[in-house]
């Protein structure tokens, strides 16, 4: 595993093996092989665009939902996590420390759609004790990309 390659790809998945090789002083073939290996091992799990949907016409609402659940003997939280993962509306599922157990993100067309989804599909699950839904109102930064309030280059041409 090469951390430098991962860092570069994480900042820009578009970089070619050739470009990465140049920047890190490595051979292109080695970088390509390394990337293939990391893909195979699922260290690199995918390549996606970071989309700012607010700038499009698509209606998209996102919510972070805290779940308190009762872990099952022998299965712990895995069983319920897997069940929740299966819903296509759910984009992320995390096991958390602190005041609740699972944190999930859900996307939908409207606040109402998400509220119905939580009430109809999540709350009713046997081991779910309670849910708290927080709607995302604005994304300032997502996946390390600044959406809102990015400052321009304020440096002055000092001329020295």
């Amino acid at each position: 595993m090469n951390k430098d390659i991962l860092n570069l790809l994480e900042s820009d998945a578009h970089l070619s093996a050739k470009e990465i090789a140049v920047m890190l002083g490595l051979e292109e073939a080695d970088v390509a092989a390394e990337i293939a290996e990391m893909e195979k091992e699922n260290i690199i799990c995918g390549y996606k665009a970071v989309v700012n949907w607010e700038k499009t016409e698509r209606q998209l609402v996102e919510a972070l939902i805290e779940l308190r659940v009762v872990p099952k003997p022998d299965f712990g939280f895995d069983e319920i996590a897997k069940k929740i993962m299966d819903f296509p509306e759910v984009t992320d599922v995390y096991l958390m420390s602190g005041g609740f157990d699972l944190a999930i993100t859900v996307t939908g067309k409207s606040f109402q759609e998400i509220a119905y989804f939580v009430a109809g599909k999540i709350s009713i699950l046997e081991s779910v004790v309670s849910t708290a839904t927080h709607f995302v109102l604005k994304k300032y930064k997502n996946n390390n990309v600044i959406f809102e309030g990015e400052s321009s280059d304020e440096r002055r041409e000092l001329g020295l």
Binding site: V22, M23, L24, D153, E157, G159, L160
Partner: protein, 393 residues
């Protein structure tokens, strides 16, 4: 009516303004300009360093410090120089905290150079040394370093220009604008060249943290250079702290105590808030510095490869954040190249001649910009070069 011109000293009247001002003024008025001309880091000052400055402001402890700078900061500076570059100085009397490295350069030249004294200045180099020597009625003796030596100063070049009037040698490495660094070999050679003389050395190592593929060798770490070197260091480039205006001079007590007098009368002391932030920088900043260095290095490697691809020859500079490609293949002068590139493609790079006559045929490209910015600039430069070729046909 007062004839102001007559009131000025001859030296000040004849002082040339920085030659590239006009060029930058044009660039500033144009829209959609992709600049590769800025000589300061694009990174913000690391958060913990800013926080230390804010804490000082919140506590309201914004008094003058001692003239020489806070003793705690001087101790940290000396520890850092020892740890990073293996050179030892006493914080009590061999260290002076200044307003940027620039003040240190000014102090040293003012303290050492009198009328007729010769100062050896290897060019291309940072633009301040020559005018400061002229202000003292000193004689700048320009040494034109050569592209075939990767713009390194050699022993022979020093010997060739050394006279019994030589007072001071400026060592501007890692170099702005070429990115050149000196190896141990050149430093030993320079040390040999000066042996038996009283010539002092002003080693401007403001870019000392920014070297790639090799560690920076500090001039005073080379045995016999120690006693004759005044070392300039600072926070601007290494810690991305340009606006804090903080640097230092390290050197023999016998000189420091005198330049401290000028500093005392002209400046009083460096800004206290900046000094507090600088202590944090030296204590806990090395990880941030490594990260920034790594990022610069990736951009440097990208640019070297990209320049070669579009047909601009460039030696693999290993320091600072500049590359100095040759534009001789275009048949244009540096100034023509930069002006035409600016007008036709809205890309600003600095003509090599801004840093001395020996910069003719070269331009300075700064890589204190994001990779995407560099890519866009390179593709525009490539278009420009292709159009030049078309014109020639």
């Amino acid at each position: 009516m007062i004839d102001y011109e007559k009131m000025l000293t001859k030296e000040v009247r004849e002082l040339k303004p920085s030659g590239i001002r006009k060029f930058f003024d044009i660039a500033a008025e144009m829209k959609n300009v992709i600049s590769l001309s800025i000589g300061e880091p694009d990174f913000k000052t690391p958060w913990n360093i800013r926080e230390a400055g804010v804490k000082n402001l919140n506590e309201g402890a914004t008094w003058y410090s001692s003239n020489q700078g806070m003793i705690k900061l001087r101790q940290e500076v000396c520890n850092y120089q020892k740890r990073r570059f293996g050179v030892s100085y006493h914080p009590e009397d061999e260290c002076l905290i200044t307003v940027g490295g620039s003040e240190g350069i000014d102090l040293i030249i003012r303290a050492l150079v009198s009328e007729g004294d010769e100062v050896l200045i290897p060019q291309p180099c940072y633009v301040a040394y020559e005018p400061l020597v002229e202000l003292q009625k000193g004689v700048p003796v320009i040494i034109n370093t050569k592209p075939e030596n990767q713009f390194r100063l050699t022993k022979e070049e020093v010997l060739e220009h050394l006279t019994d009037k030589t007072k001071l040698l400026i060592l501007p490495y890692p170099n702005n604008p070429t990115g050149a660094v000196l190896t141990e070999k050149e430093l030993i050679g320079i040390s040999e060249a000066l042996e038996g003389t009283n010539v002092l050395v002003l080693s401007d190592e403001i870019y000392g943290e920014l070297t790639y593929e090799r560690e920076h060798i500090s001039a005073p770490s080379i045995g016999s250079l120690y006693e004759r070197t005044l070392l300039i260091g600072g926070f601007s480039k290494a810690f991305a702290m340009t606006g804090w205006r903080l640097g230092y001079v390290l050197g023999p007590e016998a000189i420091i105590k005198h330049i401290n007098k000028i500093h005392q009368y002209a400046i009083m002391c460096a800004p206290t808030t900046s000094q507090h932030a600088a202590i944090e920088a030296l204590k806990n900043g090395s990880e941030s510095v490594s990260k920034m260095r790594k990022e610069y290095d990736m951009r440097r490697r990208y640019l070297l490869s990209a320049l070669s691809k579009i047909g601009l020859e460039c030696f693999p500079a290993k320091g600072a954040f500049y590359l100095f490609p040759s534009i001789k293949s275009t048949g244009l002068t540096s100034e023509e190249f930069c002006t035409r590139l600016l007008y036709s493609k809205n890309v600003a790079v600095v003509p090599g001649t801004a840093f001395g006559d020996s910069g003719e045929g070269f331009v300075r490209i700064s890589y204190s910009y994001s990779l995407n910015h560099l890519k866009e600039a390179i593709s525009r430069i490539e278009e420009f070069l292709n159009e030049l070729k078309e014109d020639k046909k």
